[in-house]
């Protein structure tokens, strides 16, 4: 039986021949992704059930030990240490995202209110830190939080830290570093929505509602939701897995999941445990994405 002819983009061909051609196009890149992305991912899952040998090598003895350990169960009784780290990462990511949103809205309004020429300039000013290396952006806080500068001095005067010590490593510094890192990730997508805002709707809301907050939630928030949600997802997920910022600004006092994972692949040489922690992070990521997707669908239906 002769295969059915179709016309695709003006070309006369058969579906089979088209898909064969398509396969050729896909092959190289897909093979790459399979070998260096999917397969390693699967291997990681498998390794998370493996065991660490005495000298740090990988032993193919499978058990749930690593996960139990993550949950806190070890030979020495139950400890919440790892769970605390996981929880802390979620909280830090959440608060970072929240603060970034709170700071981004005024910034976006400000830029949107400029005339066309200065808008480009302001946007470029936001883009430059966005593209600057994260190591540089993070260690730069060493200077600002140094003991000689006013910030550290005020904190010393308030008794929060010992005089002469810098304002890091601690939780505060980590938050500062995270927010300054992720702020542009929220600002840029949010700006795309703010630029398209229909101000007449806002003015109508201002007539209707006395409270500024109502104006915001009823007229501004819905319109900026697309850009906002992109910004949220681009911030929350990477923030959970961040390790440069907590490493430099949090030190051993304020570890996040990223540091924990890095430790297993570095000093501790415990790949299976590291894999298990990565899986936990993966689960957190998937859950966040699901929530995001469901929220977006809800919002689409409004």
């Amino acid at each position: 039986m002769t295969p059915r002819l179709i016309i695709w983009y003006g070309e006369l061909t058969t579906r089979r021949r088209l898909l064969k051609q398509g396969f050729l196009f896909l092959f190289a890149a897909m093979a790459w992704m399979m070998v260096f992305l999917v397969l390693p991912g699967l291997v990681l899952v498998v390794v998370s059930f493996a065991t660490r040998g005495a000298y740090g090598q990988l032993e193919w003895v499978f058990s749930l030990e690593n996960y139990k350990r993550l949950m806190g169960f070890s030979l020495f009784g139950w400890t919440a240490d790892y769970l605390v780290i996981l929880w802390r990462s979620v909280v830090v990511a959440f608060i970072t995202t929240l603060i970034s949103i709170i700071l981004s809205y005024p910034l976006c309004f400000f830029i949107a209110a400029r005339d066309k020429r200065s808008r480009y300039m302001w946007l470029t000013l936001v883009i430059i830190p966005f593209w600057t290396n994260m190591v540089i952006r993070t260690y730069a806080w060493f200077l600002i939080l140094a003991p000689e500068l006013p910030f550290a001095r005020i904190a010393a005067a308030l008794g929060i830290i010992t005089p002469g010590m810098p304002l890091y490593p601690n939780a505060f510094a980590v938050y500062i570093g995270m927010v300054s890192m992720f702020l542009p990730f929220v600002t840029l997508p949010l700006y795309a929505s703010v630029e398209k805002l229909d101000w007449s709707l806002v003015e109508a809301a201002q007539d209707l509602y006395a409270s500024r907050i109502r104006v915001f939630t009823q007229a501004i928030l819905p319109q900026t939701l697309p850009g906002l949600s992109v910004g949220v997802i681009l911030t929350f997920v990477p923030a959970m897995g961040m390790f440069v910022v907590p490493d430099l600004l949090g030190g051993a006092k304020y570890m996040l999941v990223g540091n924990l994972i890095q430790q297993q692949f570095g000093a501790s040489r415990d790949w299976p445990f590291g894999a298990a922690i990565s899986m936990a992070l993966m689960v957190l990521t998937m859950v966040s994405l699901q929530i995001y997707r469901r929220r977006s669908k809800e919002i689409e239906h409004i």
Partner: protein, 356 residues
């Protein structure tokens, strides 16, 4: 002028395009149902219908951008149903013009010649000629994004015509233009077609366009051709309710056949010949209802004006009983409440289909 009310025409060298029994279905939707029509060589033919009636699908099948599920398409006596678009002597003016944004006007128009490796001087000669004919010579170095809608349309036209296709297809080419420009372009298109003598097939939902440009037209509805013929024939003698209402306005009158004529809610009306059905529809266009000083001999109606609508070129009166729409010239001024005599002359009443 002889009016025709058929989709067939004489065969032989006159035949340009023949579409026979074409069916096309997209998933669950039947876009075309057993469509048959013929376009004569050198004719300006229009496919007229509302959106979704299948006219664009039919155009794409003729262009070679879709394959019919069954049926054939013949051009100049040869079957082209399965011939790819690149091999058909058919060129299309797309609704959005589809100009190549990275090529200037000259190169856009020259595309179809260069792709077939025409020699340089031949290309130059032909392209210059087409550009001149459409008033585009000064713009040949410009790029599509620098042109207005009307100019883009002319480029699309030139780009297609330069290849001297056996039939030129136009997919709602004027939908993006404003009303004033549209009227102008309709006449220009007609003149160009006359001058070149090429076969044009236009697809549109705008009935005035169809009436202005076409030698013959086919009205399509839900995937079928419902009537075909010259503009006058189709306008004056619509064969069913859809065509009567789609082309121009029509007053529809329900009628039951009686020995002396038909019985309607306006009383008994006389017809030129008895209708083929017992119960059915009559139609009379607003401009065919005559306003009389006194009661007419037959088919008269005493009516009261309920609304007057000014249209610049004429007035439309809504009268009761009915309601009937009556069109009158702008000399006479009527006002709401006036009582007038109307004649629904037998010669102007059109018999439509049977009541279901």
């Amino acid at each position: 002028m002889k009016t025709e009310n058929a989709c067939d025409s004489e065969f032989g060298e006159q035949t340009g395009l023949v579409v026979e029994g074409v069916n096309k279905r997209f998933g669950k939707v039947e876009a075309l149902k057993d469509v048959t029509l013929q376009v004569r060589r050198g004719e300006f033919f229009t496919l007229l219908g509302p959106s979704g009636c299948g006219k664009t699908t039919l155009l794409r099948i003729i262009a070679g951008l879709e394959l019919p599920d069954s049926g054939r398409v013949m051009l100049g006596g040869q079957e082209i149903t399965s011939l790819p678009a690149t091999k058909r002597q058919v060129n299309t003016v797309f609704q959005s013009y589809a100009l190549f944004p990275h090529l200037n006007i000259f190169e856009n128009v020259a595309f179809g010649l260069r792709s077939r490796k025409f020699p340089k001087d031949e290309v130059n000669k032909r392209v210059e000629r087409r550009l001149a004919m459409l008033g585009l010579t000064e713009m040949r170095q410009r790029y599509p994004d620098q042109l207005s809608g009307g100019q883009k349309q002319r480029v699309a036209l030139a780009r297609a015509l330069v290849n001297q296709p056996e039939i030129l297809l136009l997919d709602e080419p004027m939908s993006a233009l404003d009303a004033k420009l549209r009227a102008q372009v309709q006449e220009d298109l007609r003149r160009i077609q006359r001058r070149l003598g090429r076969t044009f097939l236009l697809v549109t939902h705008d009935q005035s366009e169809a009436l202005v440009c076409s030698d013959r037209l086919a009205v399509m509805h839900e995937g079928r051709v419902v009537q075909c013929g010259t503009p006058e024939a189709v306008y004056d003698f619509p064969q069913n309710r859809f065509v009567a209402e789609f082309l121009g306005a029509a007053n529809l009158i329900e009628a039951t056949r009686v020995p002396s004529g038909v019985e309607t809610r306006f009383g008994i009306l006389q017809l030129e010949s008895p209708p083929p059905w017992t119960k059915g529809l009559l139609a009379i266009r607003p401009e065919w209802i005559r306003i009389r000083e006194n009661q007419p001999e037959a088919n008269g109606l005493r009516a009261k004006v309920s609304e007057v609508i000014y249209r610049g070129t004429n007035f439309d009166l809504w009268v009761e009983p009915g309601p009937l729409r009556v069109r009158t010239s702008s000399y006479k001024h009527f006002k709401s409440g006036d009582e007038i005599w109307l004649e629904l002359a037998a010669s102007e009443l059109v018999i439509l289909d049977e009541a279901k």
